[in-house]
Symmetry: C2
Subunit: 238 residues, 2 copies
Amino acid sequence: MPKPVVPEEKRRRRRPTRSGTVLSESLIVETALRLLREHGSAGLSARRLGLALDCDPSTLYRYFRGMDDLTLAIGDALVGQALRGWGPTGSWRADLRTVGLRIHAAYVAHPQAALVTANRVTGRPHELAADEAVLDVLRRAGFPPADTVRIYHAFIDQTLAFATLDAASLALPSAALSADDAMWRSTYARLPAATHPRIAEAAPLLATRMVTSAYPTALDMLLDSAAAQLAALGERTD
Amino acid sequence: MPKPVVPEEKRRRRRPTRSGTVLSESLIVETALRLLREHGSAGLSARRLGLALDCDPSTLYRYFRGMDDLTLAIGDALVGQALRGWGPTGSWRADLRTVGLRIHAAYVAHPQAALVTANRVTGRPHELAADEAVLDVLRRAGFPPADTVRIYHAFIDQTLAFATLDAASLALPSAALSADDAMWRSTYARLPAATHPRIAEAAPLLATRMVTSAYPTALDMLLDSAAAQLAALGERTD
DNA sequence: GCCTTATGCCAACACCATTGACCTTATACG
DNA sequence: CGTATAAGGTCAATGGTGTTGGCATAAGGC
């Protein structure tokens, strides 16, 4: 029975697969990312993954408890690659801005993977490291614990929420199945002004603006508010 | 072959199913919503839906092109029920706030359904009506077309993004499969201060705050910014 | 060089969406 | 009022999915 999954660091015997390739947690995750990119967000399956790795699908259950566990690992890989090589500079506002944009960019760079792993709390190492980093930046900036947690909450939720939303709009049109993109041209752009005057009026502007992300604007607004709060705190203690 | 889907308004002959119930598009969508609530976001399938409606699964393909088409209909039903009975009051800021909170609330009220239909542009009637309403509120408030579209974009994306995020955190714990909620208690709450001091320090505050939504705060910040822009516009033309 | 056991493989199970052919019955029209 | 028509419900089959129990084998510690 394949139940007791051996964690990566405990692995000793690396028996090669029939065709000679040696499996590992990271190799599986990377291959899954490739499959997602090539075949769309619905193109990841145990069978296809086994085919790509040239191993039996059931072998994957030696590394992950199930496909759900695998998707969590994929999500953590995204966070890890977002913050790889990053370190705090000392300017809390610049740091938070960079972290937010990096996470957002990592998701948007792998839209199909982002869709699969969206909105999940993985509790895996890279996610924990990111949370710790954001909390540390805020505390060092001078925010008391309560404000730190409140701002952290808004910051991380807004980042993940926009990352998912933007990833979705990038992933769906490329998938041949869904015609969300065509919807814009076929439905919105040719609505009669009689029934939908505002949409008809705005159609050209909408077409150019809706393809960009509103995240940077929202992020800066959040940081504005945080800076104002910090200033108010400083005045009171002075 | 069940290909040519007849739209609801063209239906004439309503032949009852084997057990006597008469199908309709809305009945199917309502039943799907119930199934989603009862069996979680993965519990919606053509077979189960057929079982609940006491009809053959293939019958559904007379009403929808496929499960994807059905999920779009579910999403539009959510938007429709969010704005049912709503009308503009004349105060653009209050109106936008109400619309945002209503849509957010409708998603959060059906978290499993929200997850399934999340991040999709349906192009269906209720969605079009909501877009038209938001654009109309902004234009009547005095925003020029360009600002209207920019604010509309930020507003609608922020609302949908947070709605999806919050729905996800509500839907997942109830699903017996995923242990995202347990993750908070099992992993975050008992992280050693040696490796993750900031998380350990903030754990109690995090536990109480992370269960609420950050959307209202973010929404008010967006409306603040919009109000400031409108005021600046007014000064210039005076 | 042996023994243990981690780990890859096989076969099978239960579920899923989707489709083509068939049949039945509600309606439209003569 | 009767009959033709086709909308729409049903059946059966196809090829996909995740997952698991049992088995075989080779890697590594001794």
